[in-house]
Symmetry: D2
Subunit: 141 residues, 4 copies
């Protein structure tokens, strides 16, 4: 399993007239967590693109459990649970607070396809593949 | 079944560095179609709020089949297929072009809860309920 | 003088927790009016790019006189008042309502530079230049 | 003078099809710097609202000197140079990089009005006023 965490502080521009975060913004936060994961693997997204790969979305789901509000400090937890092939799924949980006060606000997933710069499906970048293998062995998987 | 159609022209601000529409923006277009449906039923969202109802999201899904691009003219097709109760699901298709050249870009759904202004679940607004009943009878449902 | 008008209906996603439109969104509406002007001149922005030109922003100003709200129908009025050279300024007014009930919500301007695809400053596209000359003669300028 | 600095990392969702950051997003970053200033003064914006004040925009200007790109690490420098009264101006510079490699990308300003919750103009919040006075004395102003 590959995991990453990203810290988000809710911007005023991300709220709507209901006084809570507009539902479309959570997808941008999921994206921040994906960028963070790639950084951790030593493969920043800019470099990934420069080396000929992209990770477009095939689909996504989200469940809204509790609303996020302006100025909230949130944590986006990302997990890749299944071995990434041409297709890859990222799972997310967004939480607010720590310890006993920790609340789950959102769960979701995004489904991606590894493609080259001509948009042809391809295998995951070798460094990404290796990171998965190392993480898998470390957990005795 | 209740249906609505909204016409969207893609704005430059909605694109991203891949040269296509950023995936989060489709949810704002789904929202435009919901507003259009309420208008058609003689129950604009502003009035709905003024009369004590809101329609927050419980969840959503989306599948991206083909990318939308800057300046594309798109149609968002909305359908409510099941009788709305406290919970209500809206289904969407986004298409580009007409007739034989019509392409499906996206399909999706949003799941909502009818609530009052204290965020307590409630029945659909009477005018919304009546619209469903009329549409249902018209189709011999 | 070159002029264009674009009709905007305020989306829920464009509001913020103050219950009004977030101030950054007006710039996207100004952009919609620029696209409309180019359409009117028979030189859609997509074609302009395909023919080797871009119109990046050098700067902008805006004054907020009255807030726009969800579902408002607005008109963005665009004027190019000075002969476009390498640099070009677009002036904007955003209004709500018609006739005696017409209110001015916003005034502003965006400053642009005509560039080629290598980002080198260049003259306005010939069709744009011609449109200015024709409009100028028509008004006895 | 009151000053604050906010660190921004450019999100993919903030780019557009030109491959650079869309010009409207800089205003959201200016806003992040204002929130940071209020935090530093022990007067978070949420508390400011709870105590009956708001800071709507009257206007804004911006100059774009160099484009920001995806994944850039930027610093937003905020300065309040003139004594805040009912009206208050915030000045901004956005920079990328440190030391000799530091580049200025953007300069700008936002003009605000202190209002109460009924949108009537009012004096700055006492804690804000005091912070200005202390900063002013410290610099021998």
């Amino acid at each position: 399993m590959l995991t990453a965490r990203a810290e988000i502080r809710v911007r005023y521009a991300e709220t709507d007239a209901m006084g809570i975060v507009h539902h479309a913004n959570y997808f941008s936060w999921f994206e921040v967590a994906r960028i963070t994961l790639l950084d951790q693997l030593g493969l920043p997204y800019r470099q990934l693109e420069a080396e000929g790969n992209r990770l477009p979305l095939l689909g996504a789901e989200i469940r809204y459990l509790r609303p996020a509000r302006f100025d909230d400090r949130l944590t986006v937890h990302l997990e890749i649970r299944e071995k990434p092939g041409v297709r890859m799924t990222c799972h997310y949980r967004i939480t607010r607070g720590e310890g006993d006060a920790c609340e789950e606000l959102t769960t979701g997933a995004t489904h991606h396809c590894w493609v080259d710069l001509d948009s042809r499906p391809c295998r995951p970048h070798p460094r990404f593949h290796d990171a998965w293998e190392r993480a898998h062995q470390a957990t005795g998987g």
